[in-house]
């Protein structure tokens, strides 16, 4: 059996660090890079007698993420304890969510080779990070608890991924989402954590199963059961979803530990239910103190429906736009100033947010490129005056020098060249300079990209790519 006989099936659990000022259940700072063990407190160290108090910012962030990927946000979710016994887990328990996570379902969309892929999410839940073991030398291990209690959200996907490349692209899409939502910076070490665990399953095409790893086998069984169900057949094996972390890191046998975790997860002491259990908390919630997440959810949901519905944006773009009131406000102003809705959304998401860094800056009155100025630029792109590449350069100048697009275009002669005579000359020149590629073109049409790039270079980026394509095709035919 060769590798080609296997179909790769991957589901991922990705941890994203949420960018709150303080830890998920206590007051210590979450800032990255401090001296070891300087950002701790009795709560995150799990000293006897302490109690966790949930950071509201963490809930708000998870709700934003959930809205952006179209999850169902639970009005009531709860935390449970997971018992582990590691030196970097100061409490011997990790407070996580088990049977009632904050978000269920959702879809993450991204492009792979120009094709839109959609990966379904199982859930998004909140939990706390552990500390960090530092193995100083062969005899000494040190522990830094600065990270203990840093808020994480775990994004669990369905086993929808079919290649490593696709998995990498999926993670990239998540990182983008997390950054644009302003809930995390998605950076290694201080943001989107490296994958702690991949759930990889494989299946031989002729259904022969050869596995050593029970874990993989389990996933396989599950995957097969899922497919059986999808085909409308009774599943051959009923397999419950099971999660585990840091496989092989435990002194106990896997089976033994799994039983223990099952029981403990279900039974672990609860934090007060979210936003709180009991009559007092219900009253509080009714008064609205605990309802920030719900208010946000409602306001954002209405806006989201409008963007994804009548405006016609992709759900993902709509999610980014509604994630912060400032972004949505900026976008609405730009559209009101005449920018075409879809193009404006791309510009706000891909350019404005990227340079602004913090999404909340979009609400500033003295932002270098106000919504109306962006609208002016987008209109120039829309009517063909500027190519996409040129427009990006212009945008950079607008941001740096606080000038309008029209002003920059006029003064620097950046108007896109669509004149066919001028372009034909450039194209001929390029073809003449690359006789080998021109000869190979018929056998390999992909070389078109090479030629377009060369022409763009030749014209200083001013050429209209569409026109160049047509001319090249004609000349090379």
């Amino acid at each position: 059996v060769s590798l080609d006989d296997y179909e790769i099936v991957i589901g991922l659990e990705v941890h994203a660090q949420l960018a709150t000022q303080s830890k998920i259940f206590s007051w210590s700072s979450t800032a990255f890079g401090a001296e070891p063990n300087t950002q701790t407190d009795p709560v995150c160290l799990g000293l006897p007698g302490v109690l966790p108090v949930l950071n509201r910012g963490v809930v708000d962030a998870a709700v934003r993420l959930g809205l952006a990927v179209g999850s169902k946000i639970r009005q009531r979710c709860r935390f449970t304890r997971k018992h582990y016994f590691y030196p970097d887990l100061p409490k011997n328990i990790q407070i996580s969510q088990f049977d009632e996570p904050i978000c269920d379902g959702g879809t993450v969309k991204f492009r792979l080779h120009g094709e839109v892929r959609a990966v379904s999410l199982t859930r998004i839940h909140l939990e706390e990070d552990a500390g960090k073991n530092i193995h100083a030398d062969a005899t000494k291990s040190l522990v830094d608890y600065n990270r203990a209690g840093v808020p994480l959200c775990e994004i669990v996907s369905e086993p929808d991924l079919r290649s490593a490349e696709e998995a990498a692209e999926y993670v990239r899409a998540l990182r983008t989402l997390v950054r644009y939502l302003g809930i995390g910076d998605g950076k290694h070490g201080g943001g989107l954590a490296p994958l702690r665990r991949e759930r990889v399953a494989a299946e031989t095409r002729d259904d022969r199963v050869r596995h050593q790893d029970r874990d993989q086998e389990h996933e396989l069984v599950q995957e097969r059961a899922r497919r059986d169900r999808a085909r409308g057949q009774a599943p051959g094996v009923r397999a419950g979803r099971r999660r585990s972390r840091r496989a092989g890191d435990t002194p106990l046998g896997r089976g033994a530990r799994r039983d223990a975790v099952d029981a403990l997860e279900g039974a672990g002491a609860r934090l007060p239910l979210l936003p709180g259990a009991g009559p007092a908390a219900r009253r509080r919630r009714r008064r609205g103190a605990g309802g920030a997440a719900q208010d946000l959810a409602r306001a954002a949901r209405d806006r989201f429906a409008r963007y994804a519905g009548s405006v016609g944006l992709s759900p993902q773009d709509a999610g980014v736009l509604v994630s912060e009131r400032e972004i949505a406000g900026y976008y609405d102003d730009a559209v009101a100033a005449g920018a075409p809705a879809k193009r404006a959304a791309n510009w706000v998401i891909n350019e404005v947010l990227a340079v602004a860094g913090d999404a909340r800056r979009l609400g500033d009155a003295d932002i270098p490129v106000p919504p109306a100025a962006l609208a002016g630029l987008v209109k120039l792109v829309e009517d063909g005056t500027l190519s996409g590449k040129l427009a990006k350069d212009v945008f950079g100048k607008m941001w740096a020098e606080r000038r309008t697009a029209a002003d920059i275009v006029a003064k620097e002669g950046l108007v896109q060249v669509s004149d066919s005579g001028e372009l034909e000359a450039a194209c001929s020149k390029v073809i003449a300079a690359h006789p080998t590629e021109a000869a190979n073109f018929k056998a390999n049409p992909k070389l078109m990209g090479f030629f377009v790039g060369a022409v763009m270079k030749e014209t200083g980026g001013k050429a209209n790519p569409k026109a160049v394509n047509e001319i090249l095709r004609k000349l090379l035919a």
């Binding site: 006897p48 100061p90 039974a267 672990g268 002491a269």
Partner: protein, 498 residues
């Protein structure tokens, strides 16, 4: 400057004296420290005596008074603290060898508030290991003796707190109640113990036993003492998200109002008079004495006090099943003492890899095993799920009962203090000692125990007053009224009891 006789002194008398400049906190502290030095060797109430710290705290109170500042509502009150409360810089062990040497770097909310009110902590009080037990025989260090008879247990788990108040080794004390751990020892030692509404007092800094059942509360010689302590302890705490944001009542005033005008009871006059029923789950034979005593003391008086007492726990089998089965406290696993947190153990100077199992006493072990069994995958619903439903039912029953009355009066314990070793061989019998106190814990409602008489052998009998959620003032008013018309609380145990 007058001296005070520490024996039998009340916390409010001391606080009032210090605030009026008639007493010096330092003198009071010295008197109590002297008593502890003389008497505690035989009783075993204290696990740690912080004489130096007590003197420092007392001097600070005196300095505040001299400087014209308010030294606080509990100025100079010598305080005993159950060793389950974390105290900054003072070893906190939960009476377990596992935590020996653990010096918390932080202070519990309760002890911080009491210190803020001017109370002077003398030391840390003995208890059952990790608060698991009803007799104090489970302390890993030494048992506490009942001051009324050294052959008898003081009750538990807050046995050290109750015995220290009874023997005047402190004027105020604090403990925790999970299944009766404040009220049962208060009853067995003849003092006042109060378990407030769940969330009324912050649990931050209280080493957890069963998070959803733990209630910190006060002990005092009198109802007013307990009320004054609770007034200082209670209130919302940003470190405990289960703490209740409702304003703290005027508990001391309520206790005094009860003393003065029980009938008017200020808005708590009886709506309907009913026959007083003693607790119906006292079991015939085993509990006859306490039950009769409870009935004799409560019947008739309750009418005069304007209180209707009725205890109706419809499904008492559920309760006893729960308790007998040992999963009234489904908590052991939640705070499994076999797994003392790494950081805690590191602070205690222990070896992180040390096997704790050999160092835990049989009772915690038993509960850990029971808890583990109950929560095992597959048994979860059959036991724990059922227990949760029973708990809701019990809470509903209390609520229904309170529709027809203001407070419910019962004996605190089905039996008076028993002898050391009498019940250790049969854990089930031991668990039954909590049968009358566990209901209010499950329902999270306030209940107070006070002395209501003595057995022929001279052992105290406790009377329990239960009120609806956040009805602490009702408890204090009723108990204050009863106390004002009886003299049981004035009896003191012999100083040289054997």
């Amino acid at each position: 400057m007058i001296a005070i006789d520490a024996r039998g002194a009340t916390a409010v008398a001391i606080a009032d004296g210090v605030r009026a400049g008639k007493l010096r906190a330092r003198d009071v502290a010295e008197q109590y420290l002297d008593r502890i030095a003389r008497l505690d060797g035989a009783l075993g109430c204290y696990l740690l005596i912080d004489a130096e710290g007590a003197r420092r705290r007392a001097d600070a109170v005196d300095a505040a008074y001299k400087a014209g500042r308010d030294p606080g509502a509990l100025a100079g009150v010598p305080l005993g603290v159950k060793d389950i409360f974390c105290t900054r810089g003072v070893e906190t062990t939960c009476a377990s060898k596992i935590l020996r040497g653990f010096v918390p770097p932080y202070e519990s909310t309760v002890t911080a508030r009491l210190a803020g009110a001017g109370a002077v902590m003398l030391g840390k009080l003995n208890m059952d290991e990790f608060a698991m037990g009803s007799s104090n025989e489970n302390s890993a260090f030494k048992p506490v003796k009942n001051p009324w008879s050294h052959a008898h247990v003081p009750g538990g788990s807050s046995g050290g707190s109750a015995a220290a108040i009874a023997a005047s080794l402190c004027a105020g004390a604090i403990g925790t109640d999970t299944g009766g751990s404040i009220r049962q020892p208060a009853a067995l030692c003849g003092v006042v113990g109060m378990k407030p509404t769940y969330g009324r007092v912050s649990r931050y800094g209280v080493i957890a036993f069963a998070s959803s059942l733990d209630h910190p509360g006060p002990f005092g010689r009198t109802v007013e003492d307990a009320a004054a302590l609770l007034e200082a302890m209670a209130g919302a705490d940003p470190h405990d998200s289960t703490s209740i944001p409702a304003p703290v009542g005027a508990y001391r005033a309520a206790a005094r109002a009860g003393q003065r005008r029980p009938r008017a009871a200020q808005g708590h006059a009886p709506r309907r008079a009913r026959r007083v029923l003693p607790a119906r789950h006292g079991r015939r034979g085993r509990s006859g004495r306490a039950r009769r005593a409870g009935r004799a003391r409560t019947r008739g008086r309750a009418d005069r006090q304007g209180v209707v007492a009725q205890h109706q726990v419809r499904d008492r089998d559920l309760l006893s099943d729960l308790h007998g089965g040992g999963f009234v406290e489904p908590g052991p696993l939640r705070r499994c003492p076999l797994r003392v947190p790494h950081a805690g153990r590191a602070l205690a100077g222990g070896d992180v890899h040390e096997d704790a199992r050999g160092r835990v006493r049989p009772e915690p072990k038993r509960r850990i095993m029971l808890g583990t069994y109950v929560l095992r995958a597959g048994y979860y619903e059959a036991y724990y799920g059922k227990a949760l439903r029973a708990r809701r039912k019990i809470a509903d029953d209390f609520q229904a009962a309170f529709a027809g009355c203001d407070a419910i009066v019962t004996p605190t314990s089905p039996i008076p203090a028993f002898k050391f070793g009498e019940k250790t061989s049969d854990p089930l019998q031991m668990y039954l000692a909590d049968v009358l106190t566990v209901g209010p814990d499950l329902a999270g409602i306030p209940a107070l125990s006070q002395s209501c008489g003595f057995t022929k052998a001279g052992l105290p009998i406790g009377l329990q007053t239960i009120a609806p959620a956040l009805g602490e003032e009702i408890c204090f008013r009723v108990a204050g009224a009863y106390e004002a018309r009886t003299k049981w609380h004035e009896r003191l145990p012999p100083e040289t009891a054997s």
